[in-house]
């Protein structure tokens, strides 16, 4: 169960907004986390408390393939991202590194900055404690659910390579 404060962003948040190019050569998630969202909100990284939740509109994570974007969100202490929809490469990247994403347009629209949220990933439920509303997220396709259960892509491939030899 994830419980934290919502940090609300708009539509089409791109990867240059999530992690500025001057930081993309970093590889330690905590270091990356210090620059998370810096182009859009310089105080963001300092404001986030571990377990907080990032909430956004349509097409979150559009633009570059830089995997440091989801790494920086994780590194900043964000426990999951709720959005109306996600850009394709960002979606894969986040699933691969086990940053939970929740596709839930109603919850994303109803949530305001600073609301207290509770997310039950297993049941796909988003509860807005501030507004006392509950939302149901879209379930993952079976294939992706198995990938998540395997612990992300690294573990999935590890297992494949191990059983091959």
């Amino acid at each position: 169960m994830i419980r934290g404060r919502a940090h609300k962003f708009g539509d089409n948040i791109d990867t240059d907004g999530i992690i500025p190019v001057y930081a993309v050569n970093l590889s330690d998630p905590r270091q990356l986390g210090k620059h998370c969202m810096a182009n859009l909100d310089a105080e963001f990284a300092a404001r986030v408390r571990p377990g907080d939740i990032l909430v956004a509109g349509r097409n979150f994570g559009c633009g570059s393939s830089r995997e440091v974007a989801p790494w920086s969100i994780k590194g900043a202490g964000i426990a999951c991202v709720i959005a109306e929809s996600f850009a394709r490469i960002f979606f894969r990247n986040a699933i691969n590194i086990a940053l939970p994403l929740v596709v839930c347009p109603d919850a994303a629209r109803a949530t305001q900055d600073g609301d207290q949220l509770e997310v039950d990933l297993a049941r796909g439920e988003v509860r807005n404690l501030t507004r006392q509303e509950t939302f149901q997220a879209a379930p993952y396709p079976e294939f992706i659910r198995r990938l998540i259960e395997a612990g992300g892509l690294v573990e999935h491939v590890r297992e494949r390579l191990r059983t091959k030899t």
């Binding site: 089409n12 791109d14 240059d16 907004g17 500025p20 190019v21 001057y22 993309v24 050569n25 970093l26 590889s27 182009n39 859009l40 349509r58 097409n59 559009c62 633009g63 570059s64 393939s65 830089r66 995997e67 440091v68 989801p70 790494w71 929809s85 850009a87 394709r88 490469i89 894969r92 990247n93 691969n96 590194i97 396709p141 294939f143 990938l147 992300g152 892509l153 690294v154 999935h156 491939v157 590890r158 494949r160 390579l161 191990r162």
Partner: protein, 419 residues
């Protein structure tokens, strides 16, 4: 089946596939760069992989921050150089490289009908050759290097047919900016864009690369062109291996078909801060600029430099403006020297950089300060893309960028080059 479905089916060992289906797809080439490659190498090791699946099918291109911009980027390239040597994979470094998406087609590393995955979102560029090419993150690329395949969900296909006859100074870049403005930055999310119609049949390969390159700016997974005589003339001398020519079936099912009449289309300018903010150049208003960039994986090819040189030859860059020309590869650079294009640029007061991604992602060689405005033949104008989050980027074709460099304000090339 559509072009995308045909290629994916062939690489998954299926007779036919349908949108939404999950496949394990065999890849013909895996590409990564100094921007995202290091995490791939680390994930590759974490996966317990020892050798890449096939060293001839893995290519590392040092292009984003090279020649290295600082100690961090030098350390990244050093580690990747070690990995490339250890694995015996294809390796392109300073002096032999270029921007990956200019380089791979030029080197014959991508052919029609192939599947390519790259650790860069503009990998979709190779769709111009009738290949299924898509960008992925570092961990996916690590998995592809280790196993030679990737998981994919078959995308729906969207067909775009362009009709009419292009006006002077209108290029593939303008068609694409116009298309993105029409469908939005998420108009093709999870979808394969397929381009056709008599207008794109008449585009040269460089114009097609520009278009396929920007499929990602509409959220597209891939952007594909049908293979024609021109494609074959481009790839055959470079291929060095057998190739198949895929084609969509006449009864292929498209989720959307867009027929666009483009005879009246003017050169486009995408206003800050979205590639979907495209308007005709005449509607951009009075925009004074500080910098003009001509280059990138979108517009750093020979046809682009020729177009810019036609505008800059015998003219001077406006005293307030820095004009930066970035040839896309060593081959493009050399040919531009031979044709005298470089002389036109230098005489005009433009600077020519080495082949690199350079200013496009705000890496180096032309980073913007707060309050500065840049007209750029690149692909993204997001907040902070080329430097300060307080700078503005206007996207346009190379002729518009060159003409604006001369006049100091964003303008139609016809205002600078009088017939």
């Amino acid at each position: 089946m559509t072009l995308a479905e045909k290629i994916l089916a062939a690489h998954a060992g299926c007779e036919s596939v349908e949108p939404g289906q999950f496949l394990q797809v065999r890849v013909d080439m895996v590409m990564t760069t100094d921007a995202t490659g290091l995490i791939s190498v680390r994930q590759f090791r974490k996966m317990g992989a020892r050798r890449v699946f096939d060293p001839r099918k893995v290519v590392l291109v040092m292009d984003h921050f090279t020649p290295c911009r600082n100690i961090e980027s030098a350390e990244v390239v050093k580690e990747l150089r070690g990995f490339a040597a250890e694995q015996g994979v294809r390796w392109y470094d300073v002096g032999r490289a270029g921007i990956c998406h200019v380089l791979l087609p030029q080197e014959g590393l991508v052919l029609p009908g192939e599947v390519v995955v790259g650790g860069d979102s503009h990998t979709c560029t190779y769709g111009a050759l009738g290949a299924f090419a898509t960008g992925m993150g570092s961990t996916d690329i690590a998995a592809a290097m280790a196993t030679g395949d990737v998981w994919m969900q078959v995308p729906v296909s969207l067909r775009f047919n362009y009709h009419g006859r292009l006006r002077p100074w209108v290029t593939g870049k303008d068609l694409m900016l116009h298309t993105i403005a029409a469908i939005g930055v998420d108009g093709a999310t999870y979808a394969a864009m397929e381009f056709g119609g008599e207008v794109v049949a008449g585009l040269d390969m460089d114009g097609r690369f520009s278009m396929a390159n920007m499929a990602i700016e509409a959220g597209g997974k891939a952007g594909l062109f049908e293979v024609d005589q021109q494609t074959l003339e481009y790839v055959k001398p470079r291929a060095g291996r057998p190739l198949t020519v895929p084609a969509p079936d006449p009864d292929a099912a498209y989720a959307q078909v867009h027929d666009l009449e483009v005879s009246d289309l003017e050169p486009q300018v995408a206003l800050p801060h979205s590639p979907a903010n495209a308007v005709a150049v005449g509607e951009a208003g009075q925009v004074e600029i500080d910098q003009a960039v001509i280059g990138s994986c979108t517009n750093g090819r020979l046809a682009d430099l020729r177009l810019a040189a036609r505008v800059l030859e015998g003219r001077k860059v406006h005293p307030r403006v820095r004009c930066i020309v970035v040839p896309g590869s060593q081959e493009v650079y050399l040919q531009a020297v031979r044709e005298g294009l470089m002389e036109s640029f230098v005489q005009a007061g433009a600077v020519v950089t080495p082949p690199t991604c350079g200013p496009c992602p705000g890496g180096h060689l032309g980073v913007l300060a707060e309050g500065e405005r840049c007209v750029s033949s690149t692909n993204r104008n997001f907040i902070g893309r080329m430097g300060s989050p307080g700078a503005e980027v206007y996207l346009a074709n190379p002729a518009v960028a060159a003409a604006s460099a001369v006049s100091g304000v964003i303008c139609h090339p016809g205002e600078v080059v009088k017939p």
